[in-house]
């Protein structure tokens, strides 16, 4: 098992490098002048040019890339063009907010989505199935940020039950987390339903019935455990979507997290900040995917067998 983990970690490295290359590459396409951004609109062009030269803007791509890579390995993500503070510090400050939000959201999504999916599958074509599927359809179609706007209108403005700005208390978490969760829950419902439907039709389920096992145990011990395998993988991938939506939601709810950081950075053409955030989010996503893969291998002996033996 540990061999498998090590293998996967090793595979991750080239992917991480590729990600940095892609992000860096995109950023380099920006016809921007950091010198201008730092010194301001009114600064002297010569000063701007000199600053640009010092920052290495005119160096060839590969050299810039390697310098950046070296920095990353030392834990340095560069300094923000605007504030000149290390990007890393700002990220560490704001990352927890985003993390809590997204983790809570995915947890909630699993808690809501899987049971509804199971119910839909087990009682296929019944009222529950229709409700579950309709809910999933609806949530999958509705843009998350619009849903949160509606939620704010209803719960904050009209009913005045919940706050809509910031993350100061537990109540502040409710609206953003729930709206984030609903979108992910939708696809989990559909996926769970699909995999459960397939699993229920498998022969080994029939074997379990022939032993005289009760339907409840069959659903939960035999069917669900098998059906959840692809669902777990999908949940991991959903996390990426959640992170993306979180970026938008942080704007809506005025939350001070990585999302607002990245949008600001882009608007202000603050390259190091934008890059730093992109990298951190991507790395985070990769780690989650790796964790999910490992979990999968842990649960499904067929996958373990494939990797442990060689």
């Amino acid at each position: 098992m540990s061999k498998y983990i090590i293998k996967r970690l090793l595979i991750m490295i080239p992917t991480l490098m590729l990600i940095t290359m892609i992000v860096f590459g995109i950023m380099c396409l920006t016809p921007s002048s950091p010198g201008r951004v730092i010194l301001g609109e009114k600064a002297d062009q010569a000063a701007v040019d000199e600053l640009n030269q010092r920052l290495g803007v005119n160096d060839p791509f590969l050299i810039r890339y390697f310098n950046y890579l070296k920095g990353i390995l030392k834990g340095d993500l560069g300094n923000s063009y605007r504030s000149n503070r290390p990007v890393r510090d700002d990220i560490l400050l704001r990352l927890p907010n985003t993390l809590i939000l997204t983790t809570a959201a995915i947890g909630l999504a699993l808690l809501i989505g899987i049971p509804i999916g199971v119910l839909s599958a087990v009682k296929q074509y019944s009222v529950y199935d229709m409700l579950g599927t309709t809910f999933a359809m609806f949530m999958a179609s509705v843009p998350t940020f619009w849903l949160s706007l509606m939620a704010i209108v209803l719960f904050s403005l009209k009913l005045k039950w919940l706050p809509s700005n910031g993350l100061d208390s537990f109540r502040h978490f409710i609206l953003p987390t729930v709206t984030l969760a609903l979108g992910a829950a939708a696809s989990l419902v559909r996926l769970t339903r699909t995999t459960m439907l397939e699993t229920i039709r498998q022969d080994y389920i029939r074997t379990a019935y022939s032993k005289g096992q009760s339907p409840g145990i069959i659903i939960f011990r035999h069917a669900l455990n098998n059906a959840l395998l692809p669902v777990i993988t999908s949940a991991g991938m959903q996390f990426g979507g959640i992170m993306g939506s979180a970026v938008v939601l942080e704007q809506v709810f005025a939350i001070n997290g990585i999302g607002t950081m990245i949008t600001e950075a882009i608007r202000m053409k603050d390259i190091p900040q934008a890059m730093g955030c992109s990298l951190v989010l991507s790395f985070l996503f990769m780690v989650i995917m790796l964790a999910v893969d490992l979990l999968y291998a842990f649960i499904d002996p067929r996958v373990k067998a494939r990797y442990v033996k060689g």
Binding site: Q202, Y204, R206, T207, K211, N226, D300, P301, R302, A305
Partner: protein, 343 residues
């Protein structure tokens, strides 16, 4: 077409079973008035081509048919004197695994891939224990798992391995172990060796034969392989289009002079190692469309000996001892038309 035997003696008695499948498009008449019986310790072979309704019959006994599409329209299935079709869900669950257990066709898919084989055998024992008041301890049940594995020729220490670590033949042995776990009175084996290699087939059959003799379990063996029937069955029923068209002891059906034309075709189509022939002798035609069965005798469109009455009237059984043939050829009333002598 009902049987005349004392219900109290027979372990299993199926009377006039009728099963249909209803889909959006059509109604499939899978089993059309099937009757047979089985005494304790007996092994009966249920023979027929694919689509004859053998698996449907087997699943009906344990009420494992797909709920939404299948419907048992008529009939009674007496097991130890009680009609299984009249039991409710809880009661039938008590019969499954403990009174009657089943071995399915494809061992590759019959076992849960993410549970160890030990756990899957244990599950059967656990259910039985639960139904009987939970008196046995975990150690006792685990010991029984070990015992069962040895019984089917698998080392007990392999019980923590997963199905994917076993070969096809070994998987089927595990399935057999599960089936035997609670000492059922009847085992239904649906083509247990069809999915296996020929050499493994022989092994598994031998194992089943030894075990059934040892434990005195009755066995319904569903197969399309007459050789297998000859090897381990006492009685045989030949099925066609959802009906039993011939039944009797293995000697009567295999070695008797009189056979249903279909049975004759089945035997005739087996290639003989000793005779030189140029072509195989299949039975002409195809099994009838189960949504649109022919009137009268269901075999008449393919039958060389078909008479006018075959097209309109379903034949009753003609009997000789325990040998029964559902064919107008042997029916006493038609003796003038038939080239065959009476039975």
């Amino acid at each position: 077409m009902t049987q005349n035997s004392a219900p109290a003696e027979n372990l299993l008695e199926v009377r006039d079973l009728k099963v249909v499948y209803k889909t959006d498009e059509a109604v499939v008449f899978a089993v059309n008035g099937l009757s047979f019986s089985l005494a304790p310790g007996e092994t009966i072979g249920l023979v027929g081509e694919t689509g004859a309704g053998k698996t449907t019959t087997a699943l009906s006994i344990l009420r494992l048919l797909p709920e939404r599409t299948a419907r048992i329209e008529a009939g009674e299935i007496f097991f130890k004197g009680e009609d299984l079709l009249k039991k409710n869900q809880q009661e039938i669950r008590k019969v499954r695994g403990q009174g009657i257990s089943m071995i399915f066709q494809d061992p590759m898919t019959s076992l849960n891939p993410i549970m160890t084989v030990g756990q899957q055998i244990y599950e059967s024992l656990e259910i039985d224990n639960r139904n009987n008041g939970g008196k046995k301890t975990r150690e006792e049940l685990e010991a029984r798992v070990d015992e069962l594995l040895s019984l089917v020729g698998i080392q007990a220490r392999r019980k923590n391995e997963y199905p994917n670590q076993f070969s096809g033949g070994m998987k089927q042995r595990v399935v057999i172990a599960i089936a035997l776990a609670c000492n059922p009175s009847l085992i239904i084996a649906d083509e247990p060796t069809t999915a296996l290699d020929v050499t493994i087939q022989a092994q598994v059959l031998a194992l089943m034969s030894v075990l059934k003799n040892k434990t005195g379990t009755s066995l319904i063996l569903i197969t399309h392989d007459l050789g297998v029937v000859a090897q381990i069955c006492d009685k045989v029923c030949v099925m066609y289009a959802g009906e039993i068209i011939e039944s009797g002891t293995v000697e009567e059906v295999f070695e008797g002079e009189r056979k249903h034309p279909y049975t004759q075709g089945l035997f005739g189509s087996i290639p003989d190692l000793e005779t030189e022939t140029e072509r195989l002798n299949p039975i002409e035609g195809l099994m009838p469309d189960p949504t649109d069965l022919p009137a009268g005798c269901k075999f008449h469109p393919r039958c060389k000996f078909s008479m006018p009455v075959c097209q309109t009237q379903s034949p009753a059984y003609a009997r000789e001892g325990s040998h029964q043939i559902a064919c107008h050829l042997f029916h006493p009333a038609k003796k003038e038309e038939s080239p065959w002598s009476l039975c």
